[in-house]
Amino acid sequence: MRYEGERFHGVERVRELETPVGAAMPTRGQLRLRLFGVYVCSFLAGILILLGEQLLVLDIPFKKLLTFSLPASLIGAVALAFFLAMLSIWRLKPVFRMNSDVPSSEGDASEAAKALNRLLTHPGELLCGMVGLGFVYTVVFYWLESQYAAIRHDSLPPIDWGVLIGTIAGEISLFITIGIFIFTTIRRLLLPLVLRVQPQPGQWDGRASIASPLIVTYTSTFLITVLNLFQLAVIAKGSGEPQSPLLIGGIALFYFMLGTSLFGYVTLQFRQELRSLVRNIQELSGGGQKLGSRMPVVSYDEAGELASAFNEMQSRIDREYDSLEKELKLAYNVQQKLLPPGDLTIGSYRIAARCQPYSNVGGDFFDVVMLGPKSFAIMIGDVSGKGVPAALIMSALLLLFRAEIRRNGNPAEVLARMNRQLCEAMGDDGAVTIGVGVIDTTSDTVRYASAGHLSPYIVAPNGSVITVDCSSLPIGFDTEVVYQETLLQLNPGDRFVLYTDGIIESMDGSGHMYGFDGLEKEISSWKPCDDLPQLVDEWLARMDAHSAEGKDDRTIVVLELVQAYRSQAVQREAISSGHLSELMPSSFFSNEWSLRSRMGDERGIAEQIGSFITEFWPETNLHEDVQSAVAEAIMNAMEHGNKLDPLAQVTVQAQIGSLLAVIRVYDEGGGYFPHVSRDETEMAKKRESDDPRGWGLVIIDSLSDYWATGRDERGFYMELYFMRIMNK
């Protein structure tokens, strides 16, 4: 088990364990050293108590103690500490193995269970061991003392068993004191390791009770006090002199305080564990912890089992959440696929649309639908409410809109029909604001109708902003609502801006709303530029950087009538209109090819089309011109349309008639504005640039009689026209 970061639902999940005592994880060497240190300190404390007793209670001269008792005790203490350290290292071997290796298999899991068991039972083992060892040590000590006296031929008084038992009782109490020191300190020392080896569900058979350590500590401290007082009474009886009540009271008070301190310490530890447990539960229920957080299991008792059970429940919730998250992700993908590409070019128009759902799925939507060679529709909508219900309504309405707008391109009528259908389907439960604009690319007009949607703006190239006012009810309220249509005239360079309330209601860090003023100020500051999508993206990124976490979906649709392209198209049409209108392609050959966007592959298709020109128009010398122009158009489709994505297709349609050949090259991209320069200064500048490129369109423009770009249901295309003229 590890507590490093984990990937979860694409979110960096960190298992933050709160240790109730804030203990840090010791290394193996540190642990060994600390174990030995704890044992030595515990024994030294015991020796100090013993020394105090012998000096104060038994009146043994310090000099005498120095001869044997004290050195023997010190040596014995260090030897015992060393022995206990070895014992601990041996018993905690599974833990040391865990310390070096991260468990990953089932075998490791059983090893972890063993390590946990050892960690939790070891303090108790030490306490029991100390009591037993104390008994043996005391007996051996007195036996050795008698043997030492016999060797020195000292005359020993006859054994007074009462005194001996009293002394042994006192010394055993000393060992219990040391034992309980060790018990509490080792429990504290091993706590970080218990945190590392978290018990799993099913490992709780035979766990201890929360009361056990309390009872052990309480009993031990009670025993210590009683045994010491017993020892004092025996000594007083043996000496025949009454002991000073002050001394008895002092000793009783000392042991009482010692016992109370230990008992209080153990109780405090439990209190901290329980408080940590409660705090963790509160944080988890209050959402203060991240998903996947686990509660530390710090004891092998009821509190630990409660934490473990809680963790199991949390795991189950996480799994459920995980599954829900995956489904929402899937729903998000489906929803995103329903929306058209965010960057589109249609004739002289460029569209940059962005839809940012607040959560995984949203209720905002937009659409762009081609209605014929000379018109298309744009739409923006906002379903009231959020989450899955809003997303479902959004998806249904998007499909409904596509069907309705193709049936009748009148925006007010489309809204009325969508309104009736939504009212019938949802009763009063659905309210959706929608704005629909139908753009006529020949007159550059927009027929706009709104169903309760926020007023769009028309922004002129000089930055002046016109608000298109149109008030009406959202769809889904009343079946009888009649929607009004407004006819708007766009001029080259104008931008028609549609948005949802998520943009307006964005809050900055200080709680200030972005508002209509913020939006108007922003869009009026937009200068004419070549890259509208980048302009919109940069603005949204700026908004993200300054605004607090949003609470609603944000959608923006910007339609621009591109000035430069519009003028070029008009110019080209003026040059060519005289010829083209007279020449209907009485087709006697047509063919279609598809190829992947791999530079070099264009040559084969271009050569085939060139050879068809030779075949059908044998008297002309156009085949090389057609071949080069088509190759350049295919390369543009690969590079500018499909962005050289090797999986994206380019489709080439060739239609060769008796007088006219039309070659149309489709790509899968959002469209691009072909910019051709006829200005010699600009051409010279291009030739002198470090990376002289962009000759493709110059070649197409020079070799073909006419060319245009457009969009239909198959995607964005460039079409080239060649006339059957000799000696071109």
Partner: protein, 119 residues
Amino acid sequence: MELPLVIERRQFPSGSVLQLRGDLTKMSENELLDGLAGGLDESVRFLALDLTGVSYINSGGMAVLIRLARIARRAGVHTFAWGVTPHYEKLFRMVGLTEWLMLYPNEFAVMQRIEALDL
């Protein structure tokens, strides 16, 4: 499929001839510029491109030729070419490549011109 560009170099007293075969596209940029860099030393004053073996040139290839001729001119080297079909000659004129690259009908004409310049 695109034919890779193969370059052969030969020297004449005051310059180099690069004989190109294959397709001249954006993909051949590195080969061609490397071929140029390897042959530019102080003794070279003229660079002649034999394009007789080049069957396909697209706008990417023309951009490469412009770069090549510009680099050569900066190094004080005049660039000539022969073996260009009338169609590609038309395209070269369209994009202004002929301002950087002097086109001649054959090697003899190029060498005559170089000799005249060299005197």
